[in-house]
């Protein structure tokens, strides 16, 4: 591998970035909503027939989601593979136009944007992917990778300005200037993720959607990237949407967390409240399943072991989507009525903690006790989306190479 060492960051340079961030820095309305997702659904048609002309059903990947992301916060989305996290992230960028519902970014409906206006807004939202190698063109040097987005958005007026900006970017993500002349394969996984982040930063975005940004990395390197994301947020006032399956990682970096199950949010709360008082049966199970690197904790831990697999999103269970695996399921309501995300009537639970379970109050009080669940077999479907989302590095690029065909590559959804 290359001898490139991550170097100490020279913050003096990185601070003096241009307009976008400075202007943003004065905007201190922290409770202000940057992203407003209303009733969003993304349904993928399942096509059959010789020329795939018949729609035989739908994958209800995202099925009715409301969420707000406030300026400067980190919103974390967790959930099982196939629960629709990546699809929701892509819907927010309009890379996957919602089947229903709307996404407002900075007060403007994204779907309504066109031409120059759309291009400008796209600059404000950037993506960071799980697999830095898959999202970086191997034939481009780091310099050209970083300049690409800046040029596309007219951010490089002249050569000196550009090279100053490049040095700032590298220093912000902790890479030496020598990295500019190198190619992606000459870097380690963690360094490539730094390049991916520098690339997203290069166009001064307001929002960064990070889809499994650390899950491909070794734990030591993962921690470096998590710290980096936290530092950059502070430095540039960024807003993050972090999509990840690792609850410990999500809890560490998020201010608020939404827990997804089969296309819906089943619980949403500030990170600490979610950990202290998980209310939804699925959140409880998820929380209890995460291994803790401490034998003392592990030895006395009680696990809620779920039975069976995540049901297919093309044939979601009726009523509460979790009812087929829920240890607290009741005879009434659970299999017939879909619970809405609501603030439960539980002492000590704040108004920013919402849960989609009919029996949240009774479960929390102990009035309803868990019981055994018989696992149901879930038929597997060939094809489907690929969870790994090896897409283009920027939203701009994604617009060019149509995003619709990135799915279907692997068995990620299983």
């Amino acid at each position: 591998m290359s001898g490139v060492q991550p170097s100490a960051t020279d913050t003096s340079g990185a601070q003096s970035t241009d307009g976008a961030h400075t202007a943003y820095g004065h905007d201190d309305r922290n409770d202000d909503v940057l992203v407003d997702v209303r009733g969003v659904k993304v349904h993928f048609p399942i096509k059959r027939g010789v020329i795939f002309d018949k729609t035989v059903g739908h994958v209800y990947a995202v099925d009715g989601i409301d969420l707000q992301i406030r300026r400067g916060e980190t919103y974390g989305l967790v959930g099982e593979s196939g629960s629709g996290k990546s699809t929701l992230g892509r819907a927010i960028l309009n890379l996957e136009p919602p089947t229903e519902g709307s996404v407002e970014f900075d007060g403007i409906d994204i779907a309504s944007l066109q031409g120059e206006e759309l291009r400008r807004k796209r600059q404000d939202i950037q993506m960071v992917f799980q697999d830095p190698m898959g999202s970086l063109d191997p034939r481009q040097s780091v310099e050209s990778l970083l300049l690409e987005g800046m040029k596309a958005h007219g951010l490089t007026k002249d050569g000196t300005e550009a090279s100053r900006r490049l040095r700032e970017l590298l220093s912000a993500v902790g890479l030496p200037v020598a990295a500019l002349k190198k190619y992606p394969h000459e870097f380690s996984g963690g360094q490539r993720q730094r390049i991916g982040i520098a690339r997203a930063l290069s166009v001064n975005p307001k929002l960064i959607v990070a889809d499994e940004p650390v899950s491909a990395l070794d734990v030591s390197v993962q921690a470096q990237v998590i710290n980096l994301l936290e530092d950059l947020q502070e430095e540039f006032g960024l807003t993050y949407l972090v999509v990840a399956h690792d609850l410990a990682v999500v809890r560490h970096i998020s201010d608020r967390i939404g827990v997804m199950y089969l296309g819906g949010i089943v619980e949403e709360a500030p990170a600490d409240a979610l950990y202290a008082t998980p209310l939804h049966p699925y959140t409880r199970a998820l929380m209890s399943a995460v291994p803790v690197p401490d034998p003392l904790v592990e030895d006395r831990r009680e696990r809620i072991i779920l039975t069976g697999d995540l049901p297919s999103p093309s044939n979601p269970p009726s009523g509460c989507r979790f009812h087929t695996r829920c240890p607290w399921r009741q005879e009434t309501k659970c299999d017939t009525e879909r619970p809405v995300l609501r603030v439960p009537d539980i002492p000590g639970v704040a108004a920013d903690h919402r849960v989609a379970c009919h029996w949240a109050e009774q479960i929390e009080s102990g009035e309803i006790q868990p019981h055994e669940v018989t696992a149901e077999f879930v038929e597997q479907h060939a094809g489907g989306g690929d969870g790994s989302l090896m897409g283009p590095a920027t939203a701009v690029e994604a617009m060019v190479h149509h995003p619709g065909n990135t799915a279907g590559g692997g068995g990620g959804g299983g």
């Binding site: 001898g3 996984g189 030591s220 993962q222 560490h252 904790v297 995540l310």
Partner: protein
């Protein structure tokens, strides 16, 4: 059911090692390149009923160690040295045919990607049945109901119907169960599980680990659990070997290892992991750099460039693995009482280097 599985129960409290790996060394010879030592002097014992965890970052030699034990490394371009004593026989001296007989029957293995070890064109019921016929000498007629029970035991719903399913009809988690059923059908005395849950969701991982834990307890099978996740071994194994760049750097019983990590690498790993039950807002303390910064073991401590407290000798000599009170440690300047040692001749804080 249990009686058919508990063949090695009687060995549980036996003190002689069942598997004894001595100074295992695996060298890859790649044309036009320097020979690459992927596993370097690894030794450990496994008694009946023992569970051993092997942890370490990507490329540390975990899988190569297990493949060497199983005799599954390619024959060309690979040199395997040392001894793998199983019941007194050095497996490394066996012919491929002799080794094939031991695999499955006495040494079972579960991989991260179950698809690679399941035959895609044979129903899983037949695959489990075949194991029972081949390794347990059963007739097909006797084996089929047992295969069904095995699938049930590992938590595959509706096992009667699933017997006829092909691997692609099962989810990742169900395939992994099928593979566990297959591996355990032969009642092996040693089971090596190489990242068996890494590709699975955490709720499914919890199910699989519970199944594995129950099965090895019931059957007295000794298990080697290979994982990069310290959380997985924390609640599962008796002893943990921590590997770095092909060598064991620390080995101890799980409680002392986690309570008092002595090697700066073990310590650094534990500092790097965001814990679900940790205080939020606390900054992680990553190990700086990456494995590409390693020094060669032959003349230094490979970890020195990333270490939080290297001293001069660390870059000049190879630290030996020294055993003391049941813990093996390869370090010139170990962590004392959970804190980096004040003797360190560096003032750099780990978090400064890489932010």
């Amino acid at each position: 059911m249990t009686d058919t599985l508990s063949t090695s129960q009687q060995h549980r409290n036996d003190d002689t090692p069942l598997l004894s790996v001595r100074d295992l060394r695996v060298t890859f010879h790649r044309s036009g390149e320097e020979p690459f030592v992927a596993v370097d002097g690894v030794s450990f014992d496994l008694r009946p009923g023992d569970t051993l965890g092997i942890v370490g970052e990507s490329g540390s030699g975990k899988s190569v160690t297990s493949l060497a034990i199983m005799g599954l490394l390619p024959k060309r371009g690979v040199r395997v040295e040392g001894e793998v004593l199983y019941n007194g026989t050095n497996l490394l001296t066996l012919s491929p045919d002799q080794m094939r007989d031991r695999r499955g029957a006495e040494l079972g293995m579960i991989f991260q990607d179950p698809l690679s070890s399941l035959n895609p064109v044979v129903p899983i019921g037949v695959q489990v049945t075949e194991v029972l016929e081949r390794h347990r000498g059963m007739s097909r007629k006797a084996a089929t109901p047992l295969a069904r029970e095995m699938l049930d035991r590992v938590g595959i719903p509706d096992p009667d119907r699933r017997l006829k399913d092909y691997p692609h009809q099962l989810s990742g988690g169900m395939r992994q169960r099928a593979l566990i059923a297959m591996a355990l059908a032969a009642a092996p005395r040693v089971l090596i599980a190489d990242e068996p849950t890494t590709a699975l969701d955490v709720t499914i991982q919890a199910q699989i680990l519970a199944v594995l834990k129950d099965l090895v307890e019931d059957t007295g099978t000794a298990m080697i659990m290979i994982t990069h996740d310290l959380g997985v071994v924390a609640g599962l194994v008796d002893r943990v070997n921590v590997m770095y760049a092909g060598r064991v750097v620390e080995a101890a019983e799980r409680h002392p290892l986690f309570a008092d990590p002595r090697h700066p690498y073990t310590w650094g790993l534990l500092q790097s992991i965001p814990r679900l039950d940790g205080a939020r807002g606390e900054r992680l303390n990553p190990i700086p750099g990456s494995v590409s910064d390693n020094l060669p073991w032959t003349s230094a401590c490979a970890f020195a460039p990333r270490c939080s407290q290297p001293i001069e000798v660390c870059t000049q000599r190879t630290p030996e693995l020294v055993e003391d009170h049941g813990r093996s440690l390869r370090c010139f300047n170990p962590i004392q009482h959970g804190r980096p040692s004040p003797d360190a001749d560096t003032t750099r804080g780990t978090s400064e280097v890489t932010r």
